[in-house]
Amino acid sequence: MEEQLRGFIKARFGEAMVREEEFRGEQSFHIKPEALIEICQAFLDDNDLQVRFLSDITAVDWLGHERADEGRFEVIYNLYSLTHAYRFFVKVHLPADHPRIASLCDLWPGADWMEREVYDLFGIEFEGHPCLEKILTPDDLVGHPLRKDFPLTYEQPQFTWNKDQPPEVVR
């Protein structure tokens, strides 16, 4: 299945593929953001590969790491083939300011809430999403919590020597 996939993508989307990565037995394809919808539609149409299950959509913030040279945000699409029981990843790198990418809601209705969560926690916009709103964080929280420049915001524990002072919040 690994060879089949590699051949399929190289043959039809050779110029859209940036590189192929294999880590701990898992295969991932780094592609250009513009080719995403085309590649996913090709997966759904192909009858040999039978990749019909979108397992997960998530993102990684590489701020401050050397991998951020390819793009600060890395959006990872976790695709699975039920007949071959094979899992692989399609990864896209997005720049730091105004990261946006096409939405997969037309192809897979299950992508709706996954994309809303990535928008809420990272600030990545999905074009074509029917209703892109916050889903997990409260409405008055400004900012995107899982970015690396949003602090964890913890409170110092209370001891006897600071118990009369208001709690000190570390940002």
Partner: protein
């Protein structure tokens, strides 16, 4: 002719049947549901961000508190993912013990589901029966890990301590009690006319829709799709065990009920096999620098003490790259995507929550149906809000 208007009803965050703090905004036309919008986020804890600020070993207790009905499953998923990232192989006894505990966790989660689902539909005594069986499983948890629910017993590289001496006796007691309990549940519910009327042809989803909506676990298998991660991509030694995959036909709530009862029976079968063939051996892998050495060695050997000190204070450095490990938790496909970045803290810990993704299909299940079926649908999806909101 006056214009037809719909009523918007708020099934608020505090509701006896929403299994936690879930809010559903239901638009009704008489008794028919026109639109249903779940609103979540009332239990958002920022667990992923908390785990990213801790060392790998210290982030483990946070995983217990996500799906709090099946805490050992979460532990198992996280430990398997970190072991994959650091390329650690665990001894055979650990694999068999983990399988045994994961199946006990599956039974425990399904029992709580059965109790709460039945009390929503009106069969109030079922809650008391299933919690009685749950007490014997909690007895095993307490003997292993010292705590009734959040044991954090499954650690990176092995188990927290060796299996207790009376593990075999306690687990056999669980098997006997759950078998007797299953007889009770079948007598009370399976051929009960009221239960069948409330669950037959309610919250139906077809196989193509289930795959398109990325459902997993009993929701997917209830529609007839034969997919179980324990058979398709086996982990932790599941290939050595012999069991069947439970399947449904119509994709309605009644099929999912029968399917979960069958899963409990298959879990009992796996536990029997695990007890018969449990191998001897160490309860932790020996990978200095990554896996904490056993406590007996730490107290008597110098190298173990030094490694213990270094791992607790500084942790280990993970390579740059992402790994994903999915397990078949009682709710569905629970996956952990862990990205290392060369330092001792993870760059990204992503939990693929089965309840969150299954709950996204709630509008699809209830729209067009009656209002009383919304409660049945929520119960039949089997959600745990700790996992939905993380």
């Amino acid at each position: 002719m006056p214009e037809k208007k719909t009523v918007t009803l708020n099934m608020g965050p505090q509701h006896p049947s929403t299994h936690g703090v879930l809010r559903v905004l239901v638009e009704l036309d008489g008794e028919r549901v026109v639109k249903a919008t779940p609103v979540i986020g009332y239990l958002h804890t920022g667990i992923e961000k908390t785990m990213e600020s801790k060392l790998y070993h210290k982030a483990l207790p946070c995983t217990d508190r996500m799906d709090y009905l099946a805490p050992m499953s979460n532990n198992l998923g996280y430990c398997l993912a970190v072991e994959k990232l650091m390329d650690v192989e665990v001894p055979e006894k650990v694999q068999w013990a983990r399988v045994c505990l994961a199946e006990l966790t599956r039974i425990k989660s399904h029992l709580v589901w059965l109790g709460t689902h039945s009390i929503d539909l009106g069969a109030m005594s079922m809650l008391l029966y299933t919690f009685r069986e749950r007490e014997s499983i909690i007895d095993v948890y307490e003997a292993c890990g010292g705590q009734r629910m959040m044991t954090s017993y499954i650690r990176i590289g092995g188990l927290a301590h060796d299996l207790p001496v009376d593990f075999d006796k306690k687990v056999r007691r669980v098997i006997k009690q759950v078998n007797n309990g299953l007889v009770d549940y079948e007598n009370l519910l399976t051929n009960n006319e009221i239960f069948i009327n409330r669950t037959r042809n309610v919250a139906v989803i077809s196989a193509e829709d289930a795959i398109a909506w990325s459902l997993s676990g009993p929701m997917l298998r209830g529609s007839g799709v034969k997919h179980d991660l324990r058979k398709a991509n086996p982990y932790s030694g599941y290939e050595n065990f012999d069991f069947e995959i439970a399947l449904g036909k119509n994709g309605d709530a009644y099929d999912r009920y029968l399917l979960r009862l069958k899963e409990i029976r298959q879990s009992l079968r796996i536990i029997n096999q695990a007890l018969e063939g449990m191998p001897e051996g160490p309860y932790r892998a020996h990978v200095p620098g990554v896996v904490l050495p056993p406590k007996e060695d730490v107290l008597y050997k110098m190298e173990s003490m030094i490694f213990h000190f270094k791992i607790i204070t500084e942790g280990f450095k993970a390579p740059v790259g992402s790994v994903y490990q999915a397990i078949e938790s009682p709710k569905g496909e629970l996956g952990f995507l862990i990205t290392g970045d060369g330092s001792n803290k993870p760059r990204r810990v992503r939990v693929r929550p089965p309840s969150f993704i299954n709950l996204a299909s709630l509008p699809r299940l209830v729209e067009g149906g009656m209002f009383a079926d919304v409660v049945c649908a929520i119960g039949s999806i089997d959600i745990v809000l700790g996992e939905v909101d993380r």
